[in-house]
Amino acid sequence: MCYSEDPEYTGAAVIALVGNPNTGKSTIFNALTGLSQHTGNWPGKTVLKAQGTYVFHGKKYVVVDLPGTYSLQSGSAEEQVAQDFLCGKRLQATVVVTDATCLERNLNLVLQVMEVTSRVIVCVNLIDEAQRKKIFIDLDCLSAELGVPVVATAARSGTGLEELKVKIEEISFKRIITNPRRLVYDPDIEEAVALIEQNLPGSVKEHFNPRWFALRLVEGNQSLLKEIEKLKWSAPCEPYRISYSGPDSKNHIPGS
């Protein structure tokens, strides 16, 4: 991935910020990096990814603010930007910023991100708004359910930011190892995923989370096939042609 050549990244830990539109992601970004862009309250402000740095306990961190997105797979341009970035191996940690006042919609993205990378921190932002609206979130329980650290923040007043930085540090330098909750799909899908995963060539496993990659192939993601071309892997093309006998057998892996 091209961003690994950016001189800004040398010797620094790279952190990605993702989240649904309008969850205060840009406010967190500003608070972490000390940059002060104005952030409005409407979905879709961050269209290009922004980048900033901060130093914590003598270590340099590069924070990349990705465009707000509801999902990693709906195929729009900004989601492609987010997805491409998260798949990169150079990333030390990913902070998923969520809106405490509508956690459910945000957890959808959290679960998707945890399929791509295990080094995830969930930031439950706007916790002050949630309190005002009498919404209570059991953070320990959420952390246990998800298997990754959870930090509550109110970025506008600075609450929780120190703790967020500590968690980022711990994840970045592998002081804590996460155990992300694994989504279990319908048996036929799981069967197909397992089959593909075993047959993925090493070069793909090096660059991508194999389970995630297999899932995308099962649902027929064609842009990933191009990604394989780019990696110029030398393995035979067998994995392309695996088919399986599920109820959707006509939707077997494309590319043949």
Binding site: N22, K134, Y185
Partner: protein, 443 residues
């Protein structure tokens, strides 16, 4: 096989959402809230009865505060900056610089920049923070929700309502904001029609002319109504042009529209004001000044170099006279719009400079003097004023906006069309109005 129609994808998404739902049910507890502010506010701000009137009132309030509030600081700034000009003259004299060098830099470059800053900075410094407060509160998605029907009928995207609002502050900012529109076709429509709402650089021209010709010097109400009418015309032309584009050059079906109405949030007033000042105001002003400085120098040269009996400026105006007359304007007005391409706020100063045939721009010290100059000296009528206002509203985007359009579209074709389309629209509207009024003998 097409990925987008994969039933497997459907099942995967469903599994993820159900998991999110079940985790939420274990983690989140809600007390039925005592008073649901969001719903109450939405009941009013997006209601059938009050939604649109409140929208007009809110925008009207923002404009009114901008116009009224900018007046005093604008005069103060003008005083300071023109005091600076005198000091600059002293310095030039002290160095013994030749007269032409002094006139070029001080009366050409510096004066134009000073004019642009004093006219542009105060309204921007009021408009952008006010707008940012509405933004932070969460009002803008509601505005798009209220207006979407019109934009849908025009074949445009609902979020264009948001970019249009940004355009009131600055069209360049409005064009940049078009990034929020996902569909390329609808984004282009929004980019190409953004300049039909008057920006802060054009408001002073509109207000000045409205005060002089529409309301009389006392009729603030009539003048305000005129400005409001011009703004509504701009919105109407935006929709009509969008409709025309989506039927011709940018054919296509409206893309999926899903707009989340995010919860209202109490804005942090102090921080919002400071950030919007730093981010938007300063950046846009810097850009405008960088354009205005060379433009000021150029205009000075044109007004002072005399290849024949008259300066280049006067000769150019002579060439444009027939076209100008057909549009209800005159050659000088048309030339001022062309020379004012770098920044809309220098159009009126250029016009006055050409009229007075003096070597540098002047700002008549009061509106009565300006009226005398235009009516008695140059034979302006209310029709001239109306056509000038409409031309100012519709003509072509300023240099900064054009550069932004080029940067956003990376296409010479669309940047070119961003000049041609508004120019055609402005010409047609002005010609039609001029012809109709004159044929009917209303003047």
């Amino acid at each position: 096989m097409n990925l987008t129609e994969s039933p497997i994808r459907d099942r995967i998404v469903k599994t993820i959402y159900q998991e999110a739902e079940s985790i939420t049910s274990r983690v989140v507890r809600r007390k039925k809230s005592v008073f649901d502010w969001d719903t109450k506010l939405d009941d009013i701000l997006t209601s059938w009865w009050f939604g649109l009137p409140i929208m007009f009132l809110l925008l009207g309030l923002v404009f009114w505060l901008t116009i009224i509030g900018a007046n005093y600081p604008s005069q103060l700034l003008a005083k300071i900056l023109f005091w600076g000009q005198d000091q600059l003259s002293v310095i030039f004299q002290w160095f013994g610089a030749p007269q032409w060098l002094h006139d070029f830099f001080v009366l050409g470059v510096y004066r134009t920049v000073a004019w642009v800053v004093s006219v542009m900075l105060p309204p921007m410094a009021i408009f952008f923070p006010l707008f940012a407060l509405l933004e932070d509160l969460g009002y803008l998605p509601r505005l798009a929700f209220n207006l979407d029907r019109l934009f849908k009928l025009a074949g445009a995207h609902g979020k264009q309502a948001l970019t249009m609002c940004m355009g009131f502050g600055c069209n360049a900012a409005g064009v940049t904001a078009c990034r929020i529109i996902e569909s390329p076709r609808e984004r282009l429509i929004a980019v190409l029609t953004n300049n039909f709402v008057p920006c802060n650089g054009r408001f002073p021209t509109l207000i000045t002319l409205a005060f002089i010709f529409m309301g009389g010097l006392a009729g603030v109400g009539a003048a305000s109504l005129t400005v409001a009418g011009i703004v509504m015309t701009g919105v109407a032309v935006t929709l009509l042009t969008a409709w025309f584009l989506s039927k011709t050059l940018l054919k296509g079906v409206p893309s999926t529209f899903a707009l989340e109405l995010s919860p209202y949030r109490l804005p942090q007033i102090g921080r919002t004001i400071i950030r919007s000042l730093l981010d938007r105001t300063v950046i846009i002003l810097t850009r405008a000044v960088l354009v205005a400085a060379p433009a000021g120098g150029l205009v000075w040269v044109l007004a002072n170099v005399r290849p024949g009996e008259h300066s280049i400026l006067v000769q150019g105006a002579g060439l444009l006279q027939p076209l100008g007359k057909a549009l209800g304007l005159d050659g000088f007005i048309l030339l001022s719009f062309i020379l004012g391409l770098p920044a809309n706020e220098i159009v009126l100063p250029i016009l006055l400079m050409s009229y007075l045939s003096v070597s540098s721009m002047v700002e008549p010290d009061n509106l009565l003097a300006l009226k005398m100059l235009l009516v008695n000296g140059q034979g302006w009528t209310w029709l001239t004023a109306l056509c000038t206002m409409l031309f100012s509203l519709l003509h072509f985007p300023c240099g900064t906006t054009l550069f932004t359009i080029w940067r956003e579209t990376k296409s010479a074709k669309w940047t070119g069309l961003a000049i041609i389309i508004p120019f055609m629209v402005a010409s047609m509207v002005c010609f039609a109005i001029n012809w109709t009024i004159r044929t009917l003998g209303l003047i």
